[in-house]
């Protein structure tokens, strides 16, 4: 429980980089949904982004900026989705979920 609280507070701190309240709310909601994909996902925080990854090949980076957040899915090359509104949120989450489910199927 305290570990969850730490993660949530780290996400909240990162989210402060986003100026718009509505986009900040989407950012924390987005990270929460990603974390619920699996208990096995590891999280790594830097000052400017959060990375979700696992040994199954799942790699999702979420980077907040002042007006939006960027979702980078996979690597070499990654698919980048700019999230400014609900439409971007849906697109980013749908592609992230597909990436996660495809990675699971390949194991």
């Amino acid at each position: 429980m305290s570990s969850d609280n730490n993660i949530n507070s780290s996400i909240a701190v990162l989210g402060r980089l986003i100026m718009k309240k509505a986009v900040r709310s989407l950012f924390s909601n987005f990270c929460s949904e990603i974390m619920q994909f699996s208990n096995q996902l590891s999280k790594e925080f830097t000052r400017f982004e959060i990375t979700f990854y696992s040994g199954d090949g799942i790699l999702l980076k979420v980077s907040p900026y002042s007006e939006l957040f960027l979702v980078s899915i996979g690597e070499n090359p990654s698919i980048d989705v700019r999230v400014l509104d609900r439409g971007g949120f849906v697109r980013g989450l749908d592609l992230s979920l597909k990436h996660y489910l495809d990675s699971l199927s390949e194991v």
């Binding site: 909601n29 949904e33 619920q36 994909f37 699996s38 208990n39 609900r86 949120f89 849906v90 697109r91 989450l93 749908d94 979920l97 597909k98 489910l101 495809d102 699971l104 199927s105």
Partner: protein, 264 residues
């Protein structure tokens, strides 16, 4: 006037005094019905994957199916039923939103993140058959399950086609373990309390000593199943057709037993 004509006339006369609701109820009370639980431990796509595949497979056997899904994690079965992302992800944007749709003449689907949000369907199945299976697919939660399961049993009455039916008790329970929660909880004791007559199938790692507390049958979910979690279609294949047959045999014998009880 022949006797036949007289009878027809009487029926038409009686019809005038029967409301549409009464007529519907008198027809619906003969539906043979069962409740199936799919419970999945941990955050796993298996809940939506298995529930969508099984419900489609059962519905294809000329049996009406209501799939009732509840759980926090994605995907929900809307993903496999090829809903648009804007639709299946709606509950992720607004936690109080439901997904509710008739998918075919014999399959309807409802999803909510928590069971307290469920509501009945406004319309009945387009195709009236005499059989109906309610599949409730949900997450296995850590800790005390009692209130959560009570809620799920209460909800089953929403989706029953039998007039005045009270909540159903599961005839079949499928437990898929994708975490380690089954090793230290009284799950099987609770099942004995809630559904003592249920046939229980277990998939994934379940300790023999736990499964042995009830007559649980092992389900080899990896055999004959094409596990392509990312594919936006309900899964199918030998596992689903084989397991559906097993399931319907179990349920069919229950229905026959209940019919005999009614005749007596």
């Amino acid at each position: 006037m022949s006797p036949g004509e007289s009878s027809t006339g009487l029926k038409q006369f009686a019809r005038l005094f029967l409301s549409v609701e009464d007529e519907k109820n008198s027809r619906e009370c003969v539906v043979s019905e069962s409740l199936v639980w799919i419970m999945v431990t941990g955050n796993s796509p298996m809940r939506a994957f298995l529930a969508s595949g099984l419900s489609v497979c059962i519905a294809s056997k000329n049996i009406n199916v209501t799939l009732v899904e509840s759980g926090r994690g994605l995907p929900n079965a809307g993903y496999y039923f090829t809903f648009e992302p804007e639709e299946y992800l709606l509950p992720a944007l607004d936690k109080k939103k439901l997904l509710k749709r008739s998918l075919s003449d014999s399959l309807r689907f409802i999803y909510a993140r928590t069971p307290s949000l469920f509501e009945p369907f406004e319309e009945n199945f387009a195709r009236n058959t005499e059989t109906h299976i309610i599949i409730e697919a949900f997450d296995f939660l850590q800790g005390d399950q009692t209130d959560y399961w009570e809620e799920l049993l209460r909800i089953s009455a929403f989706y029953s086609l039998n007039y005045g039916n009270e909540r159903l008790v599961p005839d079949v329970i499928i437990i898929i373990n994708s975490g380690d929660q089954l090793q230290n909880v009284g799950l099987f004791d609770s099942i004995v309390e809630f559904a003592p007559e249920a046939t229980v199938f277990t998939g994934g790692e379940v300790l023999d000593e736990l499964a042995g507390r009830i007559d649980a049958k092992k389900l080899n979910i990896l055999a004959g199943m094409d596990i392509s979690f990312g594919r936006r279609l309900p899964p199918s294949g030998p596992f689903f057709s084989g397991f559906t047959n097993t399931l319907l045999q179990k349920i069919g014998s229950r229905w026959k037993g209940k019919q005999k009880d009614v005749v007596r």
